[in-house]
Amino acid sequence: MTGEDLYWTFIDIANGLLSGAMLGGYYAILSIGLAITFGVMRLVNLAHGDWLVVGAYGAVIILQILPISPFLNLIILVPIMFAIGYWVQRLLLNRVSAQSMEQRGMAPSFALMAPILVTFGLSIVLSHLLLALFDSNARNIQNALSFSSIRLSQDLTISTLRFIFFCIAIGILAAVHLFLRYTHTGRALRAASDDAGIAPLMGIRTAHVYAVASGLSIAIAGVAGVMVGMSRTFQPFDGTQFLLIAFGVVILGGLGSIVGSLVGGILLGVTQVLAGTYFGPSAQLVAGYMLILLVLAVRPQGLFSR
């Protein structure tokens, strides 16, 4: 092997690691919402991917009315998505939670299924609603950065967009962490996650706390939707593929662990990009699922689970 060969091998791996890590930041944002709803409510939200697509279409509408930067658009989109998430939880999902189904006399094993089935129904309703409001044509969110990249050295580059997404992912993770750690509501969320039965004795209203968790989850899904729309095209029925990515990341990182989402995202991203580099683009998805299988076999609770 000549020196030049060695150099190119190094560059390939370095590029793979870098762009894989950047992709991981994007994957993390896709998944944090799912980790939050599972972590706080033990709710498997099958509509998670569809909320992401709703966010992407929401951005399309806002940008039609107000032609600003897609990033500035988040200032309008995020509060709207939070409000939608909050009220969907209060008016719909809290009513069908395992606890309230049991109170209405349903057997515990069936009661556990109720909220999952409802989120599945929500997924179908949301995607068909999008189809009715828009059409099945692929859309994207126009932006100036799509083809721009940052050159680190002569042969090492990363996509500007992915780099920004990575920074936003770190920002969101830090914000969620600080919120959970240091605010009264964040502490109440963690307390209700540990023992929802006794949380009311602290004066914690679980209905409100769950709604905040759901609002947070769907607001972040909205951010993820905008990122999806900026980096590729999307259609009303694309939710499932994002749900699958989010599931993979959450399983890798540990169910309900917020930091685990970032680590899981980066692991998945790096694996996919390296597999793509060495075995061709078709190997990307397979390699990702192999990794998930491997982690499930060795550490089924995920890498960061308590």
């Binding site: 309230s100 049991e102 109170q103 209405r104 006399g105 009264h184 502490r187 109440a188 963690r190 307390a191 996650s193 540990d194 023992d195 039965g197 006794i198 949380a199 009311p200 004795l201 602290m202 004066g203 914690i204 209203r205 308590r306």
Partner: protein, 262 residues
């Protein structure tokens, strides 16, 4: 053995009760767990509720703090009045806000949270947040051990320390009435002695307490009045001095139903 109670508490004289439970029945689904239970708690007094397993002691406390309002799964009938307000029509959050709280059986700590976060979670209500730092210092003053371990996860504490966290967490909501469920269960006697010394300090500060206790001697020692429950009914009540141990034991096991003290 009996400790002296404030005059207002003695035998339920002229003072109005702080808590008044009237003809309370409780049901888990169709199964009834309490039948027409009535009792009164006066300001500043300590009342013990004793009885065998399944006598309805825990259900009684859960009913008072609103944890039996569970739709079809669990519900209550009857009246519970606290300072003139009907607790039986309020949610647990509102009841805690009104000044009643419970230290639940088995502690029920938030195990993944630190000791300090458990305590702070206890002060979630706006009313309790007002003096949160002062109250936290008071709890640490009462339980210096917790101050040393404030960053430790609650799950890693010993049983006695966990009971201290549970008591401290209840104090953080600034209650006027604390219901203790099975304070000594699963703890070594020396630890229980220590816990009861701290509870005595809480009592001395004027907080009214109801204590459920398996250990009959301890229950008679700490309380100004005792209620004995059997199969969902109150079968005997009175001041410890008026109740001979033989009578309490008989009531406890149901061999002498229907005789009331005081």
């Amino acid at each position: 053995m009996s400790i002296s109670a404030p005059d207002s508490a003695r035998a339920g004289g002229a003072a109005a009760p702080l808590l008044e439970v009237s003809r309370l029945s409780a049901f888990y689904g169709e199964v009834s767990a309490l039948h027409d239970v009535s009792l009164e708690i006066f300001p500043g007094e300590v009342v013990s509720v004793i009885g065998a397993n399944g006598a309805g002691k825990t259900t009684l406390l859960k009913s008072i703090v609103g944890l039996m309002n569970q739709g079809r799964a669990a519900h209550i009938r009857g009246e519970i009045e606290f300072r003139g307000r009907r607790l039986d029509r309020m949610s647990t959050e509102e009841i805690v806000d009104a000044g009643v709280t419970m230290v639940p059986e088995g502690r029920r700590l938030f195990t993944s949270l630190s000791v300090e976060d458990n305590l702070l979670a206890g002060a979630h209500l706006p009313r309790a947040r007002a003096g949160i730092r002062d109250r936290l210092e008071q709890v640490y003053g009462l339980f210096p051990r917790l101050a040393e371990r404030r960053e430790q996860r609650a799950a890693q504490m010993s049983g006695g320390e966990q009971q201290m966290v549970a008591i401290g967490r209840a104090l953080m909501s600034d209650p006027s009435l604390i219901l203790f469920d099975e304070l000594s269960l699963g703890l070594a006697p020396a630890v229980v002695d220590d816990i009861y010394r701290r509870v005595q300090q809480i009592i001395d500060r004027g907080v009214t307490c109801v204590v459920i206790e398996q250990d009959m001697k301890r229950a008679l020692a700490v309380a100004a009045r005792v209620y004995v429950m059997l199969e969902g009914r109150v079968v005997l009540h009175g001041a410890p001095a008026e109740l001979t141990e033989a009578r309490v034991t008989a009531a406890y096991f149901g061999t002498e139903i229907g005789q009331h003290g005081s």
